[in-house]
Symmetry: C2
Subunit: 291 residues, 2 copies
DNA sequence: TCGCTCGATACCGGATCGGTATCGTGACGC
DNA sequence: GCGTCACGATACCGATCCGGTATCGAGCGA
């Protein structure tokens, strides 16, 4: 009997439904089914009756449930007490100034709830650095978007999102249900800073790198303003909120962008691993990859 | 933080020495070192100072140690309570009538202490069946000796023991410090039952299968009595206790016998796995193999 | 009877565990 | 001062475990 399986058991007991409990635990149903069966085998007792609408506690299950809560609470208290003796810890989180910023709020909230003793410092990066300070060592972990050049970074996909072309609502393209970038004549793309990551630049400014002109944009907001006032074009995630007067037209010939939490590949600290796990669970999407 | 690591931590804290704690936990030092480091990483706190003579608790370590005992106790109580609701379980243990019998006492004691709700039934097998009832499905787990033919059995070595030639003390060989079976002239070997496992028979009665004559022996005691009264020869583990008047001469040209706990390879029950683990820990010797 | 919704199972890649062999480092005796 | 010793740490390996996807069998209802 271990605490992990006990937490699973409590979730199932309260949901009376393995599928729902799995969702609550941010995992899928099969491993949870198996974990419950293993717990039953370990204890040598059936904990649930399987019924058509889900599961219900057996007598042994009720016995366990009566005690499980206080045991888990005590374990949490012990852990918190130890953490308290060592004093507060700090985690620097890098964030790019688009949806990552919104997400950071949710994730930071979840993280603070789970690890209240850790103080979080948010570092807001500009568009030149899609690693949001990770490469420079300014932050421990970052919320940003793929693709960008990976230099010893690992990332976990939180959300996959198609990109769209942001134009003024008086633009001829504004009414189109979708566009193909390869069908468009040359447009005036917003310009990214000179030292922008090459992969990132190529992804977000149409295929022709030579096309970006004008003053470099350092934030998403600047980009959108450039579209609004100067008639530039920009690419943005489809559900990026835009000011009135702008529309985002889905782009069909470009792979979707992936919102990720990223961290240095080499020896991430437990705090970083914890943040990544919480980010993944808060924003439950699967798939770990490098890049 | 999980209960397993917490138990490790308590052992180390009490021994103030990772190596000794590892011995107490019936494991080796490196994985215990690693587990402690992982626990420290999980908690974000150093639990021990490493000093030349071992380790000593840090402040965080003392905090954890103060709480760990009661937490583990509560976990054990919860588990026991659940087991109690489901009623007693039964485990059938097969045993061959030599040292396995002695061992069974120790192991059964350890098992009863750890799992008091399980009632153990001992099945004492005769020499014809080195699987001690496992093959016939009479028992769930067996204490016996390799080698014998494996038919879907798995085993865990508890003890490796050279074999010796059992002779009367008036035998010319009795004074020899050791003998080579290949040097001996034909002797009158005790006879094993006709349906004895072939590998087992070849191992325990010298190389020449034709040599065993006389009435078949069903127990070790019968074999020894045959040696004592009829001047037969027998092979036995070196530390087999023999009646007065018999001596066991080490045999140098035969591999040692291995005392094992054996169980069916297919889907062992948790109770069986538990018994095997306890047997291995009680009699700490490493190495799992088939056969 | 068909479709829907449960949990259970099969299988796979990655992580973890405990093992052996070996290393780095202080303490101690000569 | 230097070899020896004892301690924990590290490297690496095979076995196991964990969570994932795909799929199945069983009940229930339309």
């Amino acid at each position: 009997m271990d605490l992990r399986k006990l937490r699973y058991f409590v979730a199932v007991a309260e949901e009376r439904h393995i599928g729902r409990a799995a969702a609550r635990l941010h995992m899928t149903q099969p491993p949870l089914s198996r974990a419950i069966r293993q717990l039953e085998a370990d204890l040598g007792a059936a904990l649930f009756h399987r019924i058509p609408t889900g599961v219900e506690l057996t007598e042994a299950g009720r016995t366990l449930y009566d005690d499980a809560g206080s045991l888990l609470d005590q374990a949490d208290r012990v852990e918190a007490r130890v953490r308290a003796t060592v004093g507060p810890a700090t985690l620097a989180v890098g964030s790019l100034a688009d949806t990552a910023e919104l997400v950071a709020g949710r994730i930071a909230t979840a993280f603070r709830q789970r690890r209240p003793e850790v103080s979080i410092r948010i570092h807001e990066a500009d568009l030149a650095d899609p690693s949001a300070g990770l490469r420079a060592g300014l932050v421990d972990v970052a919320l940003t978007r793929l693709p960008f050049q990976d230099a010893g970074l690992r990332s976990h996909v939180l959300h996959v999102e198609p990109v769209g072309l942001v134009v003024r609502d008086d633009d001829p393209l504004a009414a189109r249900p979708s566009v193909r970038l390869s069908d468009l004549p040359d447009r005036r793309w917003v310009r990214l800073p000179a030292d922008t990551d090459q992969v990132w630049r190529a992804y977000w400014t149409g295929a022709t790198a030579a096309a970006d002109r004008g003053a470099p944009m350092r934030t998403i907001q600047e980009c959108l303003q450039a579209v609004l006032w100067n008639g530039m074009s920009a690419l943005a995630p489809l559900d990026q909120v835009t000011p009135a007067g702008l529309v985002t037209v889905p782009v069909t010939d470009r792979p979707p962008s992936r919102l990720v939490v990223a961290w240095p590949a080499n020896h991430p600290s437990p705090l970083v691993r914890s943040f990544v796990r919480i980010a993944a669970k808060t924003y439950h999407r699967a798939g770990t990859r490098s890049g």
